[in-house]
């Protein structure tokens, strides 16, 4: 990277390149159609074209590239889950982030600064021990730490000793971090486009034509396409798009709101979250404090803002860092999350033979972008679901083989 940077700096006539490939006319048919031009869809397109040599791929995006939940998450990357199946999957995801800037030749600003989850009770500490032991067993860097270590990791934190939310310890996940979500999407789009993948923005899927248990054509607002295989990865609209293909998904939609403050001098160099306060904070490289929490209390498919959620997030943030009390909010937003009953995604086969699912990502989809893209591309290219994805199959609900990860979401819902 430094050498190429030097070359770039010394070159007198630099021709700027276009990160996002232009939208061409739709062809009559594609080997693979990916519905959803967010991180997951773009990553799958990248792996299909660059690793598996499948180049006749179209990514269909209803709005603009990576403008949905890819643009709306709070960029947390971690693998501190509870079940073996989840830790194995997310650990692979974190490892892909570690090499992503190099792999894509695109700086995704991956910052592996560690995540600290606070325990405010003995019961939480016990559950942290469970997660730490599982994580260590699977080879991630994770440990339960005492109050003194919490203080060293985060010197400005209000420990509230003896108070209502007394900090009794924490779960320190050194592998946790953040990355620039837009850069990741642009990097994938650029590389997928360079190998023949087409990215069609403003292209909305309106229906499917089926023959037996296969999808033969995808209808869009720009014409009908014959397809070999279809991958669905559409965030908050997964239930609706699957329904058009005649597939029912165990999904309910909730808005998830977040906000950032005005930029401040660096004071927080780790990710901090508190399950009790339903709040997590991270300081961005621009100095803004990103504040996130749990989803809205009732089902909704609108990204409107509510005062009570903002007040709730502000209250949590002020409890942990009281000196933020005069800091102004710069902006706020919401995304629609597709929540499954067991707080785990649905990946792999669907009832249709050539229709693959990458959905149910709820509030935890960003960290899985590279690994979901990689493994879904492998599934489509080989026609076989890899072992790491098998536990996330849609059929687990019919056989009661659920993966309960409710307590391992960044802020429990």
């Amino acid at each position: 990277m430094p050498f190429s940077l030097l070359k770039y700096g010394l070159r007198s006539r630099h021709v700027p390149f276009r990160d996002i490939p232009p939208t061409p006319d739709l062809k009559r048919s594609y080997d693979v159609v990916i519905i959803g031009g967010g991180g997951h869809g773009l990553a799958a397109a990248y792996y299909l074209s660059n690793v598996h040599g499948i180049r006749n791929v179209a990514v269909l995006e209803k709005g603009y590239l990576a403008g949905g939940n890819t643009a709306r998450n709070t960029t947390t990357i971690r693998s501190n889950y509870m079940t073996e199946e989840s830790v194995r999957f997310y650990k692979e995801g974190v490892e892909l982030f570690e090499t992503m800037s190099r792999d894509l030749g695109f700086n995704v600003m991956f910052s592996q600064r560690g995540q600290l989850t606070l325990a405010h009770s003995e019961a939480t500490l016990r559950s942290f021990h469970l997660r730490a032991e599982m994580g260590k067993h699977m080879g991630t860097r994770i440990e339960v730490v005492d109050v003194q270590t919490v203080k060293e990791l985060c010197p400005h934190l209000n420990l509230d000793l003896g108070g209502q939310h007394e900090v009794m310890g924490g779960l320190w996940h050194a592998d946790g971090g953040t990355a620039r979500h837009d850069a990741m999407a642009w990097g994938y789009a650029r590389h997928a486009g360079a190998r023949g993948g087409e990215i069609h923005q403003r292209t909305e899927v309106t229906g499917f034509e089926q023959a037996g248990d296969r999808v033969t054509h995808v209808r869009t607002n720009r014409g009908t396409i014959a397809v070999g295989q279809v991958l669905q990865a559409v965030g908050g609209l997964n239930g609706q798009v699957a329904a058009m293909a005649g597939i029912r998904l165990p999904i309910r939609c909730f808005p998830l709101q977040a906000m950032v403050t005005q930029p401040l001098k660096p004071f927080l160099d780790i990710l901090v979250s508190s399950a009790n306060l339903h709040t997590y904070l991270v300081q961005s490289s621009r100095g803004e404090v990103v504040i996130g929490g749990g989803s809205d209390p009732y089902q909704l498919a609108s990204t409107r803002s509510t005062l009570d959620q903002k007040e709730h997030l502000a209250e949590g943030a002020l409890h942990l860092f009281p000196f933020l009390h005069k800091v102004k909010l710069l902006r706020q937003w919401a995304g629609i999350t597709d929540m499954t009953p067991d707080y785990s995604p649905i990946m792999g086969a669907s009832p249709l033979k050539n229709y693959w699912l990458d959905c149910g990502w709820g509030t935890w989809g960003f960290k899985a972008t590279p690994v979901a893209g990689k493994r879904m591309a492998e599934t489509i290219a080989t026609g076989r679901v890899p072992d790491v994805l098998k536990p996330f199959d849609l059929s687990r609900f019919d056989s009661f083989a659920l993966l309960n990860e409710m307590g391992a979401t960044a802020a429990s819902h």
């Binding site: 239930g239 609706q240 029912r248 998904l249 165990p250 999904i251 309910r252 939609c253 209390p297 009732y298 089902q299 909704l300 498919a301 609108s302 409107r304 509510t306 005062l307 009570d308 009953p341 609900f397 019919d398």
Partner: protein, 83 residues
Amino acid sequence: MKLLTCPVNGPRNITEFQYLGPVRAADAEQPEQLIEALFYAENPLGVMREWWRHTPSNTVLIAERHTVSDQILATYLPNRKPA
């Protein structure tokens, strides 16, 4: 402040209410519908009938709410749907 009308106590701040989820079409007592009742909850883009509880008075009610506009169209007691 968003208001929800309790059929017993009148319009109240929505923070006084607890959301209990959609009214389910599937019946958990019927074995063939059990999985559907447990996991496949209603999630429409449109009007949804749902259970709410007014916590101070413990009144359980049904609301009809649009899941895109968030507009509450009607609230009533479970067995007293207005004509």
